[in-house]
Symmetry: D2
């Protein structure tokens, strides 16, 4: 039923050993739970630096921040573009955090790759084949979000589109799927994380911020994601979530982030079940 | 709850009169139910011409045929590209049918627009903003398929991305949404057709072939679509469905297509309820 | 994949000829599109009689009205019980309409069967096996609504539970399934109607009122249901929808009902495609 | 949007302190993660006793086992009925485990309550109001499974139906919801667990066996459930899963169960985040 594992570069049949993706020195897919954190959108230099310093001090390894936003409405904030990328690079220089940022158009890949250490393909573009090919050629690790209504099989085949172009450095990201339940923004599918770890050698991380859409559910779902076998987390953090230009309701404030990082450290034990 | 109709170019508040999109002389959105028909993919000149002649003789006005296919797997048939476009143009010259063909990458828009009378944006690309902008600038009518897990609101906002760039000629296409029910390939959402007709002045057509995935359900769902208010249908037709390179199970054979066209003519009466 | 047709009483393999269910003289499953209409809940004698006279005058054959309501919250209006059944019987005496009413508990089956000509099993009880057995034994035709998240296969197997107890008089009713789309209350699955007609000999009707939750979508979806092959419709009609105790937003007023019935008559032609 | 917390007996506004349900001496809702384990159906005395002894020896506190099965098809195994209940009581006498068993009909409540310490209401019956009322009156703790397509709000309102009848001892059980993804049997919604803990004082447990339908996913999802805040787990365990009369593919064998219990003990630390 699922993906034909004999011919698939992403499958454990092709390569049983788990892939560790090297994001300019930060290994994703190994024993460490890698935390990527930062604001939904880069809004200005001040907020970005404040956030970067704080998340770095509490254990994050990668800074997330949107420069190009794929918005549903043409009238929503579209991101600051290259200006935001320069701010992200500045924050990297100061904090040592690596940078992940989304690319929404094949034409922007080269630009984003000039600044970012890892390229994010968002949920709306998981089957944007032209974009997948372009990020594959950029020779940067790729964070491939699951389409909000894509099956696990389609998700792995989207990764296959990147591997087949010669780029093996793909990190999968579960971010919630669309269901009838609207009490949370999406339905976080953690069984898909456990399933992907059995089917594929690629690392997988979880985005509980977009999945739940509720700040108060981010900590328990982060712990659950790690328990299910996630190699990392990508979290929205904002110094003043109530003033964020996008996704404020799901962003952790600084106290919330610090508390969660302390929890993660306290619980972390080796995971014999989920190798 | 739904789209803010005051500021939306797609809404009936902005423009109450229904838009009629002119596809090089074929009006979509008026009284006539426009039938677009043809094979899923253009496979070779012979099968394309045979099909084009047959569907033209039975009342189709527009020839559909894939030159660039957005495939889930990198190992599936990707389409014949420009060669297919040339064949489509040849079939137009002979039959008088207009041509609609899908474009999957911003870089291909200019090429496809050189041959096709209408550009199709597929379900996987409904929120591919870079592609929406490029097709808007191509000054060709656009057939905008609903994302398989997009809400009606997101679908209308995707159309808004095209209108806001100055291209008013968008035809919406309902093609089934993803649900738990897998007895049909997707769940055809005809209430969305009726709803879109109330919210928007844009024409809307229905694709029962992809929605159901079963040849035997295409005729009843075509009749139902027209009764729900659809301005047209887009149908997969193949001379030998059992030998098709893609989507054979849902393609009508010639007899099936001729029978359906006869049914549509027999039932067609003015639609006072769905203006 | 679907239901094993060899052993199923509901299947066309077991019985190819379409079943016509006789609701005390009204045939459901034949050439006539049977309209069942009335208020969501029976609220008082006056409104029930007014509604019954009106719908009878415009072509309805069966009066619907809830006496026992299966409510999500324990604090919602639960229906008037036997008092409502007596009012329904009174309306039958005056108008000649037959009566269909929902039964929500096995213990109430005998009581409801004493007054109603047809017993309705609601969407929340489609897999309530104890209730299915009890209605089977009551020797009344059964209107079996599809569970709002049940597959077509599960729906047919629920009917099988009734047939296997010796009651062959089951009318299936599609009433919308639960999906991510909330612009309509549910997603009306008309392809399921066409599919059921191919798989089973049982008649099938459609409830566009609950499916859409919007009065303005009831007429187009009624026409679409008939075009898809439905043998009948069940419609909520209320003299003053804005004052209804339940489901007012989806109830037609008298003008709306009269207009729809005129449309249905105008379009009705034999259906060679959907035998 | 969600349940009106002011008037709801299930809400934290009505009662902030978490409810601890006493299942004849086993507290559910306190600090201990309570494990309920056993076969899907009680098949015979030998297999039940073997299983009961094994799960008790490895830390389970409650024995699960179906006597009455709510089957989709009338031709599936329906359970051994009272004979199974007697076997369950025998296993209790020998092992000290408490008993939870499903009741599918109001008429069976008294019978099941005579043998079982806790009554289970299954997913297909979550809105079977007649059954909810009858189990409320039986004065036994109730395990209330979430409907496979019920919202969190509807689930809490179903519990409200029990509380309002005077029975406060309800344990909620998340068991997966129906979505488009069929690589797992259902989609386990762990964010619903975290959400329910915020909205309600009732304890909540998780059934990863039915949710995933795959034995290999049960251990990681059990750990994830506990991390998300679940007060317990209900697990299918069978001495020979390949020979089970129902649900073999999702049943743990003895080694799998023992391994999971060891994992759970190793990871268990206090949960300051999820009080």
């Amino acid at each position: 039923m699922l993906i034909d594992t004999r011919y698939s570069l992403v499958s454990r049949v092709f390569q049983n050993r788990g892939t560790v993706v090297d994001v300019d020195g930060v290994p994703v897919g190994g024993d460490e739970v890698v935390v990527m954190a930062g604001p939904c959108s880069v809004e200005n230099e001040q907020m970005l630096l404040t956030t970067a310093r704080f998340v770095a001090a509490h254990g994050a390894r990668i800074l997330r921040g949107g420069a190009f936003k794929p918005r549903t409405s043409p009238y929503s904030f579209q991101g600051l573009g290259e200006e935001a990328l320069r701010m992200l690079a500045g924050a990297r220089d100061e904090t040592g955090l690596k940078i992940v940022s989304e690319v929404v158009s094949p034409d922007d890949v080269e630009l984003v790759a000039r600044y970012a250490d890892m390229l994010q393909v968002g949920t709306r573009n998981m089957q944007n084949i032209a974009l997948l090919k372009e990020v594959a050629l950029a020779r940067r690790p790729v964070l491939l979000k699951r389409g909000m209504s894509s099956t696990v099989e389609e998700w792995l085949l989207a990764a296959e589109h990147i591997l087949v172009e010669g780029n093996p450095d793909v990190v999968l990201c579960e971010r919630g799927i669309r269901t009838f339940e609207h009490a949370t923004r999406f339905t976080l599918d953690l069984a898909a994380v456990a399933l992907v770890r059995r089917l594929s050698h690629l690392p997988v991380v979880v985005d509980p911020s977009h999945a739940t859409g509720r700040r108060d559910l981010v900590p328990p779902m982060s712990l659950a994601a790690v328990a299910a076998g996630a190699h990392g987390l990508i979290l929205e953090v904002h110094p003043r979530p109530d003033q964020a230009l996008s996704d404020g309701a799901q962003s952790l404030d600084f106290d919330g982030f610090a508390g969660l990082m302390a929890e993660l450290r306290a619980r972390r034990t080796p995971q014999p079940l989920t190798t």
